[in-house]
Symmetry: D2
Subunit: 409 residues, 4 copies
């Protein structure tokens, strides 16, 4: 049992070199340390991590399966509002942080921890996302962020310092060559950043991409899928080729992940703006998220009123995405913004048919019983719905303002 | 020479059955008719159209080459603000209408026409776009819109009525089978709508797509291109495989069109919301536009300040796109909105490297001398730029509000 | 009983010359006419109106008391989101139209009317508000708008034509001199427009203002009132001078109306932009609305999170106001927008103290138990809440982006 | 001459106790200190301040008259976009900071100072505004903020510590009773905060208000003024009672200040949200600013296109106000936002007639040659401008979407 002059700290543990050294270092500083891992769908040997944490001196280890709440409480609202950051990034890491933080705070309160801790660097978004979430859930919790403490970061100036410390503390180190980039993975996505990617002009090497097949090596034939939505959420997926159907929130997401990964769907590479005001290059794979966003937006074209769509795009999509990216999920503004989502999705019911092929998601058709689309009204080829003369009146009135301005010029 | 009891009308002439019948019918109603065609890059036999117009009884025919002003005055501002309608449509038709309308009004005023006329249906966007543009340029001009006049649309209830009238008037009709959809083409895009496409669940047939190769039949190898931007506009394109470079506004656009068409880039299929309030299904091919939007947005990630980007996205991108879609290019609000574009593009200078492959546009890297990206600041791997302890203060202050709310809950 | 070759029409009846002539004229055209009046708090002799309608030939007369739903369903949501049009107009007429239209549609459906009709002019906002509301509630209802029918407006080109027709039809005409402006009144406000007010440079004569005392003739002493809010709504009003308290939604509103009217609060005079695109000069008195808006906004300063306030101001206030002004209350976008109001008002609980004096509403203090205001944090005079050094970190991080831009310049 | 082991620092000096002690303390720390004062119209004995600074040990004293650039570069753009923070605060302090900071940086660079310093507390907005402005103008300048340095704020925990230090250092102290609040004054406004005002339920005492007469003691008769605007800026003010006219940017502002002060115009009292995330109670007097905002908004009703106004309100007004409040005047987003202001003000030309009376600003009429207001179009009483039947078409088309939604419900 660790000593505890300083108090008890719950550490977000990954099983890697950094958080193992932090674990040992915190004990060295006089803390009792409990390790926490969240299963958000990442590929990980959780049992190995447990052993390692305990071997490093943790007085406890808690693994929480948060996949279902990750999908239902974070990913699906993001699908409903077509969330995207700076036009490109689907927010995979941002969406996972709130559920992880909530899981941590639940354990921390239950286990009567005085502190929570994490291994995020002092320059990234994740430290902010974790800590704002901690404070939003437990405003009096205290945070230990070693990578922002001079006594820590001055001591561990490079990887060799960490390796030496691990050797000293008997922390097992996996002898694989370190990749020249960092990753963060969950069932929504994987991110790649840092290392060689810090030169924004360096093309990511082919073997970096882990989740998806390269479009060039993807199957030569398109594969079709039908996605049925109810109130803006996917409720059934059907593969017409096999007749296979999938239901259940997590099951649908994983099934679309498998489809997209096979066909090379969901890779992106951007320079984005971090909350702390620096630009940062990131590469991401978001397989199912890419399909769902395309399908959901398409169905909204068919089923959502024009003005609701425009107001939602302008206010909710952007705000929700920024709020999530910056780490303000547990905030009054997020509660406010999401209160309007259900009202926007009442009519988003129907089926979208699409195919995946070598990186492309192609919409092939859509159907809905909502009745907002009415061929009789839109048909160019026949009369129906309204009189053409009405349009003359519409244009006359719409142009009053324009004519006044043109005359004034 | 046509008689002119009613006055002189300038007709937007396409050379097709509809506008030929309109031409003849207007003469029958007592107008003198002058025909107008704009060359905005569509594939068209302009000489055949001229002969046909004159044969139909036009007292004059004016063809204006508007490709350069189309690219420089409409397409390039749209590129600079990443214009897009309802997340999907790149506005190809909307962007062409203002230059065509301006060309018409110039001729109409010069030729002392009392009226302008067009062959747009009474249910679509284009009638609104043309007429609002006419009124914005010449507030006292009068418009004849036959498809909104009962005496016209009751007489010509179907295609057979038009064919019979053409036969009666000696209007030559090209004996090709009519496509089961309508198209509008210019150098930016082609649109397909109506006919079989009015069922939103009908997948467009492969042979509908005219501009682009099918991704499945596109080359098996990616092709790279480097695009250099100055103040948000493409100023040089280089093909590294051949070393070929292209400069000049129209030349660059046509060159990227050729690249994208070859690689199946730029097809979309959506249900969109027309200005007049009906939903409508449209398919579009926007080859070069798709490449330029991806490249420009990527370079903005590298070179545009975060807050400028967010404000521009929220205010200009959406507004500009809606204004253009709805036909308000010649309006005070469009002048207002576009006044802010140059200020947003000062720093958007640099080079984007990308490749096209079977429908995909893949960013491979980007470079800029602007200096807003600074690896020293964003590096996760090394100190530099600012102290990690500063972030602690930043989070402390950023969480004051969150803690107050959490305590109040 | 009126004949009914054309069908049965429910007419929005005011008791005045215009709608009386319309009533008689509709009967002349072969309609059966039922008259409808809504009591939304205007000063009116409803019994006299009933007699007159029946005398004009109406086959029925329905008076509905809608004051409570007007206050609770329209006015109070407007208070909660600080609704205002073009920075000045508190939307008094716009807010009344939806309840009146809903009352009409209920009667029209119950009485099996084929049509609804109104006496609004063809240039104003109210015709649009009424008809859009009718269609949003009963999409197949038909509307007869006589002032937009050439057979009506050509026949009644001036007031003398209406008077002659009234004489012919035996319609009683009150022999008071017509005011040189039009008014619309309800318990929220009175509007003045048209006539001499059409010159925007004409100062309204003192005797035009009907609801409020002139500030110059208002009492020489301020009068205090305390307004208690729960979830953004006034729930109790106390007059400290007398100790009198008022509760109840309508009662509170009427009590504040009396206070404001006495002290000359709530007069405005603007040139506004109508939905149909013309500018229009209007004068308004909105006594209680002016007090409530000031008090509610003040309490939000004390109790609403900064970011919720900013998003709400940008997202809901403007949209709600435009939607109401333009007549889209019964629309998907209004349902969408108002869905977010309750989430914004959870913490808007507390008491505002203010005084009225010669046109002024002066905030004297406010109190709340919500705890979002904390003197310990904001105090300039003492330490507390957070460390001053944290602000250094906050500024360091906030300036990274600014320094990068300044260096790049 | 002060010693300078640490380097040379330019101190924003006010002549008061705090900055005098800071001046002496900085010298004690080994800095050479130069004192800076900006004349932004505050009531101040600048010569006394100069003597005191030099007596405290300053090696130089620079007084810059910045009134003209304050009015023309800050206040007038704010008038043009109707700037306001949280619906109430006219930004008087926020507007002055950029000119003061720019004046300081000019002197600091000219005098080869290594540092700039100020006496702002560690909890307020002004420290942020000053420092962000410094960094935006001179990204490599270093800042000394004593109230955020533990060695300073621990030593001077209360006013008595400052008084003792002043006595020790021979700093003259004016023996007036300290007011129980802090103020900041310039020609635009005066602010009151802290002290007894930190209880938001405390009504400010009558004798706190310094700039304006109490409405109760203001003249019994309204006073009229005519303000002529060109491109949204006041260019001439006329007092019809006396026939007196005023021109010149500063002169007009000061003249309106005098008028408003006499009539008790411009007092406010709010709880606002500081940039650093705490709520704060402030009282302000903004005499001329209140008149100009009312007049400018009124003229925009007469002369600005509806859609330009709506976009400007949503796009520029809010952003400009937040940017200024938070201290980001020297930033890319401010440059971007203000680039659109001139395009919004082209037509804002004309004259507004108004009167001031006991706290009220009452619009009495307005006139303009722009022609966007046209009584012929808006008249309810006569035909003109457009056909009433056109409105029927307008409503038919505008309701298509609403009917589709109503049917779908």
């Amino acid at each position: 049992m660790a000593s505890s002059k300083q108090g008890k700290v719950l550490l977000a543990y990954s099983g890697g070199l950094d958080t193992s050294c932090i674990l040992a270092w915190l004990i060295e500083q006089g803390y009792e340390v409990v390790a926490f891992m969240a299963d958000v769908g990442q590929e990980e040997d959780f049992e190995a991590a447990r052993s390692k944490a305990l071997k490093c001196g943790a007085s406890g280890f808690f693994l929480e399966d948060m996949k279902k709440e990750f999908v239902e409480e974070l990913i699906y609202p993001a699908v409903q509002c077509n969330a995207i950051y700076e036009n490109v990034y689907l927010l995979g890491t941002s969406l996972a942080r709130p559920v992880i933080a909530r899981g941590m705070i639940e354990v921390a309160l239950r286990e009567k921890c005085d502190f929570v801790s994490h291994g995020c660097t002092g320059k990234g978004n994740d430290q902010v996302r974790f800590e704002l979430a901690f404070y939003g859930l437990a405003p009096t919790i205290k945070v230990v962020a070693p990578w922002r403490l001079p006594e820590f970061y001055n001591r561990f100036a490079g990887r060799s310092d960490l390796l030496a410390y691990a050797a000293e503390k008997g922390i097992p180190v996996v002898q694989t060559a370190a990749k020249p980039w960092s990753t963060d993975e969950n069932l929504f996505h994987i991110s790649y950043e840092a290392g060689i990617l810090e030169d924004p002009n360096t093309t990511p090497p082919d073997d970096m991409w882990k989740l998806t097949t390269s479009p060039q090596r993807a199957p030569e034939e398109p594969e079709q899928v039908h996605i049925e939505f109810a109130k803006g959420l996917p409720v059934k997926v059907t593969y017409p080729a096999s007749g296979k159907t999938v239901t259940g929130s997590v099951e649908i997401f994983l099934s679309l992940n498998a489809l997209a990964r096979k066909h090379g769907v969901g890779r992106i590479d951007i320079v984005e703006n971090r909350f702390i005001g620096v630009k940062s290059r990131g590469c991401y794979e978001s397989p199912a998220g890419t399909i769902l966003r395309a399908a959901h937006m398409d169905l909204e074209g068919m089923t959502l009123d024009r003005n609701v769509r425009a107001l939602r795009d302008q206010f909710i999509t952007t705000s929700f995405s920024q709020i999530l990216y910056n780490g303000f999920f547990f905030s009054p503004e997020r509660e406010f913004i999401t209160a309007a989502i259900p009202a926007s999705q009442k009519t988003v019911n129907g089926l979208v048919r699409l195919s995946c092929y070598k990186g492309n998601v192609t919409i092939e058709g859509r159907d809905s019983d909502e009745g907002l689309y009415d061929a009789k009204f839109s048909s160019m080829d026949e009369m129906g719905g309204f009189e053409p003369t009405a349009t003359t009146g519409f244009i006359d009135i719409s142009s009053i303002r324009i004519k006044a301005w043109a005359r004034a010029k």
